[in-house]
């Protein structure tokens, strides 16, 4: 049974109906739900249930120790209210993964129907993974891609079916010791995507994963590993939503990406978390010679997001791009940004960040550009623009630049603007309501970024912004 948790107003306007598109709760009928709280027993349980090799169990237990020993970060946002013992760390929603939607439990299938996933799959995707709570409940990949050797699996299955490839890369880009939440994810990870694209193979349509949290006090800890071999190309897209509850849930993913010589990887995130989600994610890619890594990151919703997708450019000619949009409304803090590390000569990077704050929301750009000694002729350009919609809202910029080489070209521009009365009046004098006018100005503000998205995602992005602007969210 699916119940709407969003309280309907009598005048159920379009915006309200649209919000309910995400804000609904599906009755819980789980195959397995671990008790609340985190300790060795829970970690062992997860590993037992998954029937993992011993090295993974040891990796998890070791990571738990690291998690327990590390203090909470004192920068970024306020993490003090997370009660780590009041969270479910593992919920298994279904016996097995469906290869067709018919094989997915009816209620969960209906959830994804409502989110429009099967429809998108038919129209423009090369493959889909749908994760519900802790496990991937549906997976597909177009046959011709499988024939070319492309692997698109949930991460648990990949560990079983491709143990060597998996072990070669897993945890090498984001080690558990990297930060407290990477350690947490390493201890209790479940689900996520594993992608391998063989040399020279170009995956024309996007591969998409959709992450849905349904239970209250849930922790979702997917783990994604993408390897793009020499000269190959892939565009991976992830979407995330959850219903609104009064208590907090935690989403803490780790994403590791390896882009080999001459390859290109584009990773697009469009997340629209409910306002009770702590979203603390570590995303990092390494790019080898002449390889390109692009992160496109749309951060909407959540109570606090701390996320700084990173690109390490390890060999000459490598390129990193991070384009991000953050929207903070009432009760929300988006602490988002980017990190680029130039480790080799003739590497280049570009960071474009656009943030919007509204109704007392707070958005921060936090970015690091590092040029290591020897990385001469490195080029980096950073542009961060903030748009503040009212006097209660806030925007901050924390740009860090560390340069150990002389012969480099670094550009940094930052701007903060408020929606101008003159712009609003001009549009309103043409018959646009104030809400329509500010939505239009905001859409214009993010347009340079949205333009880079494939059409379907651009439409989705604009629609989500529209929803935020109509103000019923938050």
């Amino acid at each position: 049974m699916i119940t709407d948790t969003g309280k309907k107003k009598p005048e159920a306007d379009i915006a309200q109906v649209e919000i309910n598109k995400y804000d609904f709760h599906t009755e819980e009928r789980y195959v397995y739900k671990a008790r609340k709280g985190l300790d060795e027993e829970i970690v062992n349980q997860i590993s037992d249930l998954k029937g993992e090799p011993d090295w993974m169990r040891q990796f998890r237990l070791q990571s738990l120790k690291i998690f327990q020993s590390k203090p909470l970060p004192r920068w970024g946002g306020n993490l003090d209210e997370i009660d780590f013992q009041d969270i479910y760390y593992y919920i298994k929603p279904a016996d097995r993964q469906g290869r067709t939607w018919e094989e997915v439990p009816e209620e969960i299938k209906r959830t994804f129907d409502r989110l429009g996933i099967p429809e998108a799959e038919k129209k423009y995707l090369a493959g889909v993974k749908a994760q519900y709570e802790s496990e991937v409940v549906y997976g597909s990949l177009r046959e011709e891609l499988a024939k070319q050797g492309v692997i698109f699996l949930d991460t648990d299955t990949a560990l079983k079916e491709h143990p060597d490839l998996f072990r070669e890369y897993f945890g090498t880009i984001v080690p558990p010791s990297d930060n407290k939440f990477a350690a947490l994810n390493s201890a209790v990870w479940s689900g996520g995507s594993f992608i391998y694209v063989p040399p020279g193979v170009k995956v024309e349509y996007p591969l998409q994963a959709y992450f849905r949290i349904n239970a209250e006090n849930m922790g979702q800890f997917e783990r994604t590993l993408i390897i793009v071999d020499e000269g190959a190309y892939v565009h991976y897209v992830e979407g995330c939503t959850a219903p609104m509850y009064s208590s907090e849930s935690l989403h803490s993913a780790v994403v590791e990406i390896i882009v080999k010589r001459g390859a290109r990887c584009r990773y697009t995130t469009i997340q629209n978390w409910a306002n009770n989600i702590y979203n603390l994610v570590t995303k990092r890619a390494v790019a080898y010679q002449d390889a390109t890594m692009e992160w496109i990151d749309g951060n909407l919703g959540s109570r606090l997001t701390m996320k700084y997708p990173a690109v390490y450019m390890l060999e000459p000619g490598a390129r990193g791009e991070i384009l991000s949009i953050a929207f903070a409304s009432r009760g929300q803090h988006q602490d988002a940004g980017a990190k680029v590390v130039h480790c080799a000569p003739h590497t280049s990077s570009r960071i474009v960040s656009k943030s919007i704050s509204k109704n007392g929301g707070r958005s921060s750009y936090r970015g690091l550009v590092r040029v290591q000694r020897g990385a001469h002729h490195a080029k980096s350009n950073v542009v961060c623009d903030a748009l503040i919609l009212d006097p209660h809202s806030r925007s901050d910029t924390y740009p860090y630049i560390e340069i150990e080489e002389d012969d480099v070209l670094i550009g940094h521009e930052a701007s903060v603007s408020r929606i101008g009365e003159e712009q609003l009046f001009y549009l309103m004098s043409r018959g646009l309501s104030e809400a329509e006018a500010s939505a239009m100005i905001v859409n214009g503000f993010i347009e340079p970024l949205v333009r880079e998205l494939p059409m379907e995602y651009a439409v989705e992005m604009n629609r989500l912004i529209q929803l935020q602007m109509e103000g019923s969210v938050g």
Partner: protein
């Protein structure tokens, strides 16, 4: 009965500074009125006040569209009743395409009760209409894809304002120096286009320092504003006289308004 826009004893202040000091004007649909007057006399202020700019505070008087009290309405509600102003200085909206902006605006104008999020004019139908209008105005089709007034040349902005008027088909239009910034040919074209768009369908208030825009739109009335008031109203011959001789006679015959003008200028000069 024709629609009528009626302005009665209008007093307007900007940042607590009185600018308009009792303006009366009655414009019927189908009429053309010219509004002239020296720089800073309050012509644009009158336009902003009619459209409902929040920074222009009406301290006394009234503005009526037929029997609707416009002072109670927001700018977009006034627009949807059929009011339009071509701005003297149009505002840039970066990232917003002309076509998208105009489609939303036209959808609202044609369905004044339209709520946010409700359907727009079908894309295809609107595109066709837009391209036709642009062709009429001899505008490059590329224009539809450009961002609203962003990086437009002075002349392009004015043409874009006329295009908007052509699409939105208002009942009353205030053209605030739509001829300034246009080259000789463009002014002639603009003048013709305004006539074609339907001079007879609209009530036009043409604010201008020149006579070219009036060529194809001969005014029924010419008003002269000085120091925040309309001090004289006449026929086309009044416009002729001002073009040839300037405002000396007006100032001499209306010493009180001329004094107000001097005071306003002095104050502006002192402003930080």
């Amino acid at each position: 009965m024709t629609d009528v826009l009626r302005i009665e004893n209008l007093h307007v202040s900007v940042a607590d500074k009185p600018i308009l000091r009792g303006v009366d004007l009655e414009l019927h649909r189908g009429e053309v009125h010219a509004l002239m007057g020296p720089n800073g006399s309050g012509k644009s202020t009158l336009g902003f006040a009619i459209m409902g700019h929040p920074g222009y505070e009406v301290t006394e008087g009234a503005i009526w569209l037929n029997d609707v009290n416009l002072l109670e309405l927001e700018p977009h509600e006034r627009a949807r009743l059929g009011l339009f102003m071509a701005f003297q200085r149009p505002v840039a909206i970066p990232g917003v395409r002309m076509a998208d902006f105009l489609r939303l605006a036209a959808s609202n104008m044609r369905n004044p009760d339209r709520q946010e999020g409700e359907e727009l004019i079908p894309m295809r139908q609107f595109r066709k209409e837009l391209l036709e209008k642009m062709k009429q105005l001899r505008m490059d089709v590329e224009f539809a894809r450009r961002y609203v007034n962003d990086g437009f040349s002075g002349g392009e902005m004015k043409r874009a304002e006329i295009l908007q008027m052509a699409i939105l088909k208002p009942k009353f239009a205030i053209l605030d120096e739509t001829d300034s910034g246009l080259d000789v040919d463009a002014v002639r074209l603009a003048s013709q286009s305004i006539a074609e768009i339907g001079r007879k369908e609209m009530g036009l208030l043409i604010i201008t320092h020149h006579d070219k825009l009036l060529e194809h739109n001969p005014p029924d009335r010419v008003h002269v504003m000085l120091g925040g008031r309309i001090v004289e109203t006449g026929g086309p011959e009044l416009a002729q006289e001002l073009h040839q001789k300037g405002y000396d006679r007006i100032r001499a015959e209306h010493p009180e308004a001329a004094e107000a003008e001097r005071a306003m200028r002095a104050e502006t000069a002192q402003a930080p």
